[in-house]
Symmetry: C2
Subunit: 450 residues, 2 copies
């Protein structure tokens, strides 16, 4: 089978670009409109996307803009939203973000397993550690945990969740009305986890789905983040401005995975891409300029501060001057470095910098024709920089419609993208293996040894 590009779609109802809600095309109440999210899911499925992807935060202020200018200040919790969207679709996957720092593994395992059952095997969990003191203060703390502690807890959290997802073997359920045997207790297993952060006996009271368990997704860029991703992730969401750094990241993750005994083909690397699509270059540039013109100065400045973990208070600086230095952060370390890299490489003023990152917050922005965008995606895909992409349409629904109607057909013509879903589950469509239950087959072995 020829290798195909995998595609995720980031579709927050409040829009991706910081000023998207001000665009005439975008419904101003999109963030809290279930009907709007349903329309986006149906369009993503029409475009044969692998999955609908949503970020998440556990505090107001997520997104970075000036307080009163942030359209993503309030919205749905992603797992409940995806549960509601799943029955209206049949093949689209749903990857929701949830925190390892502020949830208990039993609850995490349970809500994702439930989403996986409701969608009949189309769920994914984007594992995040959740940064920021504002969030910590919603969970009985004054400040966030140090970076390394968050990642140690995250690794253990994922380990517990995976143990819990294997509580029932796939053939545990007998459901024999005649004999009254509903399930085989020998095929129900405790997790019996005792670790540094968690003690969880199990078992989980949700059974496995058609795809075994949800796909595990991560977005860590730091050394801790890469280590966790290489050890546990099946899909990696990553941010790069250049094919060179993307290739370095791709090689590093695949090598780390190989070193841990994993098949590197079972970790899909999907950089984020924010496309402004025009039938001509001029039309694409007009779309970019139009959206850029809607950014208010104070929102742009706030965005840069938000993206650097609250370390860049730019009030009082000349917006047409250079970016000042900033202290280190315990928050989004890698994102902070990326933002500075973009400024340095392009010799951007503060204003130019926020205009550039406003669409995708550090992800790769492409302004061009369907052919030009396909050229770039093809180049990255064929040169070990990407297994696929997470598309972040700058505004909605137009940015998504443009990609589905103009870019997807071009990718299909080139044989780079599917023309129909290959399977029913998210794993099948992503080409990821079914995760065999860790307890499966052990009974036979024990009997044979007796």
């Amino acid at each position: 089978m020829t290798r195909k590009i995998r595609l995720g779609a980031f579709l927050p109802g409040g829009g991706q670009h910081i000023a998207s809600w001000r665009h005439p095309d975008q419904p101003v109440d999109g963030a809290v409109s279930f009907e709007f999210h349903k329309q986006l899911a149906l369009t993503a499925e029409r475009g044969l996307f692998d999955a609908y992807f949503l970020a998440d935060g556990l505090a107001v202020g997520f997104g970075g803009a000036r307080e009163g200018g942030n359209a993503r200040v309030a919205g749905f919790e992603p797992v409940t939203l995806f549960a509601a969207l799943a029955p209206f679709t049949t093949h689209l996957g749903f990857i929701a973000t949830a925190s390892t720092t502020y949830e208990e593994p039993y609850n995490t395992a349970r809500k994702f397993a439930s989403l996986d059952l409701i969608s009949d095997g189309r769920a994914g969990w984007n594992v995040v550690t959740t940064t920021g003191d504002a969030t910590a203060q919603n969970f009985n703390r004054d400040t966030q945990l140090p970076h390394a502690d968050r990642y140690r807890r995250a690794a253990e959290h994922v380990e517990v969740v995976r143990k819990l997802w294997d509580s029932f073997e796939d053939d545990a359920f007998i459901r024999d009305k005649e004999t009254g045997v509903f399930f085989d207790p020998a095929k129900l297993h405790d997790a019996d986890h005792k670790g540094e952060h968690f003690r969880v006996k199990g078992p989980l009271n949700v059974s496995r789905s058609r795809q075994g368990h949800p796909v595990i997704v991560q977005a860590g860029q730091s050394d801790d983040g890469r280590g966790l991703a290489a050890a546990t992730a099946e899909v990696i969401f990553t941010a790069h401005q250049h094919i060179e750094t993307a290739r370095e990241f791709y090689r590093d993750i695949k090598n780390r995975a190989r070193g841990l005994g994993r098949n590197p083909d079972h970790i899909l690397i999907m950089p984020g891409v924010s496309p402004f699509v025009g039938r001509t270059e001029e039309e694409a540039r007009e779309k970019y300029d139009r959206l850029t013109s809607l950014i208010l100065e104070e929102d742009g400045v706030g965005l840069l501060n938000g993206l650097t973990g609250g370390t860049l208070d730019l009030r009082g600086y000349d917006l047409d001057g250079p970016l000042p230095p900033a202290p280190p952060t315990e928050g989004m370390k890698s994102r902070q470095a990326l933002i500075r890299q973009i400024a340095d490489e392009n010799n951007f003023s503060i204003r130019q910098l926020y205009q550039w990152v406003a669409s995708a917050r550090g992800h790769f922005t492409i302004v061009g024709t369907p052919g030009q965008i396909a050229d770039t995606l093809q180049e990255w895909f064929e040169n070990e920089a990407a297994d696929g992409f997470n598309i972040l349409p700058p505004w909605l629904p137009t940015g998504l419609n443009d990609f589905v109607d103009l870019v997807i057909p071009e990718l299909q013509r080139r044989g780079l993208f599917r023309t129909a879903y290959e399977g029913r589950t998210l794993r099948e469509n992503l080409g990821l293996p079914f995760p065999v239950n860790r307890h499966a087959g052990k009974h036979a072995v024990i009997q044979a040894a007796e």
Copy 2:
């Protein structure tokens, strides 16, 4: 407006009666079938029920039967399930159970607020403290917290959630594309909660719904439970075998609420009722006997142990002899007392006891014609024993269909039940007031004082 009976429907896909899954009518995989739950929701809405209600547990073993005989051993998490069902209905409410002991208030507030937005104002939260050491062991503990501690934590948890639900005032969102003002920061409020169990700064990143916030439901029967219910609940689910105890409970709760300055009409008392409906008495009795005959002895014995907080290990006892004494429990204190009361009053053997409680686990079981069932409900409703009822159909979908097709029309003929939904939200249909945001109107007052 004439006072009407309110009706909730308990519809676990795995069935209510312990042997319901063995009944020929019931789909054997109902507990994990989204389509089956959807059919139940549509039937409940056709019957004009106020709400679909689901219990919940955070450990395998919930339900009480022998391990291999329990059809409710695994299923959906209720908030995700209800999110998925809500878009297929337009008026039915959805009351999901969630634990105050094993969740953080920020997460509780968020998932219910999200369900409330998805359903456009039809969510309810059944507040439980969650009993049992097996559950505690899934959350880093060896044993459950003492009863009184659980209830203190519960009261504070509800308080924090309610503060968080008032984060955004109802008119906080301006969404002016022209000026770029999305919301008014003066109408966004911190919770600033610092208590014995929780420190939560807020605000919540989900806005209020059409009904303000979800309806708060409780089921406490003990003194601690009644205190919490009188202080915070808007609907109370309760278990009684006789109109006398139901009347005592009703008066006590309404008096406690009055004593706390609440309007007693804003707390609806809804005892559980498990109806076996027949066109004739004989047919109803046949339905009861049929289901009873499907109970396996070890499941019946396990059920009694489960219902008494694991204090009644009856293995080795003569099932046709009397119930032995049991030690006190930190778990379901009131349920333990109720089970013993049923045994004593009826002079039941162990076998007769489990047969009787198998359908509704201590709730009131009525076997009779639509007229007889309506007589009982009417008597309770008109004599200050109930404002409505939570119907627990013994098996599904037949038990629900019977109630909707035979009993509801009889209640309607008597003018006791609605013939069309009164409103769009769960609160409107229950006749509960819109909860005014605690911060509303304060700005004007401050300005006037300046």
